[in-house]
Amino acid sequence: MKKVKIAGCSAGWPDMMDPAIEVAEKSDAKYLAFDHLAELTMAILERQKAKRPDRGYIPDVIPLMKKLLPIWKEKRFKMISNAGGANPEQCAEEIIKLAKNLGIIGFRIGIITGDDLPIERVKELRAKGIKFRNLDTGEPDIDRVINDLVAAYVYIGADRIIEALDQGADLVIGGRISDNSLFVGPWMYEFGWKYEDAYWDRIGAAVCTAHLLECGTWSCGTCSNFWEEVPEPWHSGAPICEMGEDGNSIITKVEGSGGLVRADTLKEHLVYEVHDPENYIMPDGIGDTTAIKLEDIGPNKVRISKLGNKPRGKPRPSTLKFCLAYLDGYISEYIMIVPGPKAYDMAKRCEEFFYKRLEIVGLKPVETLVSFIGYNALFGPTAPPIDYSPNELGVRFAIKTRTLEEAREARLQATLSWYAAGVGTAFGAPSEREVLALWPTLIPREEVPTKLEMREVK
């Protein structure tokens, strides 16, 4: 049976680079897949591109490629990446320049575009009758924020990745290609799977398995519940997955690397950011994460196989996830630390001071949150009543306002609140920032024509 190895070489931006280099140098993985994007990242990249047309991609891709390309010259693995972000063309241009400088000849790049929609196009589609209902809030149409939109991007699938590989691409680079498709694409290409009834079970297996790999070292024990047992996470290996044509696979990591691959560490990832486990909806198919079995078969070696007769997948959806970013006021923050004894009482007094000051200066923020780091900043209302005397507590003020001026004024009042305590060390916190709120929705597949361009370094 044909088997193909793919390594998950990046979890987001920023990430450690050396696990990818190690995979390239020491493993026989045929594909290296790089996910660099998160929900917010795209909006940030869009804003960067709006200010400078030669920006908008993940800059780390250049130092990363500088290390990978010389290894590629020897080993000829394939790379699939969404580092293009909001500007795949420019990203490819920079990589081509780099490859030329390094004397890498015959390196073929497939550039995928069409995932980010101009705001004008969104307005056209709205005029045509598509409402873009908000999946988070249920708000029926986009009209309330349509004039505040700054970015719109679609989570596209593996169609063009498969095409690029078919045309001999060594590197496939795109923008908001779904994390999942960076893996499903090469497997579909290698095994000749089509978006047809005969393949949904295996595509579903690939969708579930890709989910275990798309956060790179996370499935090898970084960010893990088992952190106390994980050896040397600072040079954690990246997951390497060998899948067979039947959709079953084995996940390992490079021998000698840090981290831990165990059914447990993979389970943690199987549940991560999945909602309905029987319907994990991805652009290439709907995976059933309850239809697979994870088994430890050796040290740092886990088998993933079909559980019983349940199909592991269903046909891909007719719509794609579509995320719109819009301007939504400002947030300012301030953090200071108050010392004990009576740190909690002191912190409460500072909180009171802050709210009184807002009243005195007549400021009415949209929303405020005061929390005490060391007590309830992470746990919020679930934190049990404080029954101990902390040495020190961080007091964090967060304020949302309509305008930048209000955000500055509110932050000023927060910085003054240590007057209430008499002592306390203040330190810098992020200054005022513009808020890009997200509007997740769906878009019919046919409204998102993507494009593939092939380039070769000569």
């Binding site: 988070d136 943690e268 199987l270 549940v271 950011e273 992470l378 746990f379 949302k400 997200l438």
Partner: protein, 106 residues
Amino acid sequence: MGRKVRLSELALARSGDKGDISNIGLMAKDEKAYEIIRRQVTPQRVKEHFKDWVKGEVKIYEMPNILSLQIVMYQALGGGATRTLRFDQTGKAMGNALLFMEVEVD
């Protein structure tokens, strides 16, 4: 009435975000623990635990293949990572917060 323990004695948790939705994978340590969490970790109890930090509905799915529950909480991140005022913008600690919830064991 049984002895009360924190969920952290029976299960592990990992939480993540998509927009304003926070989800927690609650992974039981063994089959007995799975039976306990399956019966006692209900949408209502989860909602009560998080008080006004979870404003919307809570849905719970079962994953018998890995002895886990998938807990999906709507309007649960103060508007979502990009616009929430919370320090933990993506709710990565929501899972830990849930592990402080008490359940009864025999």
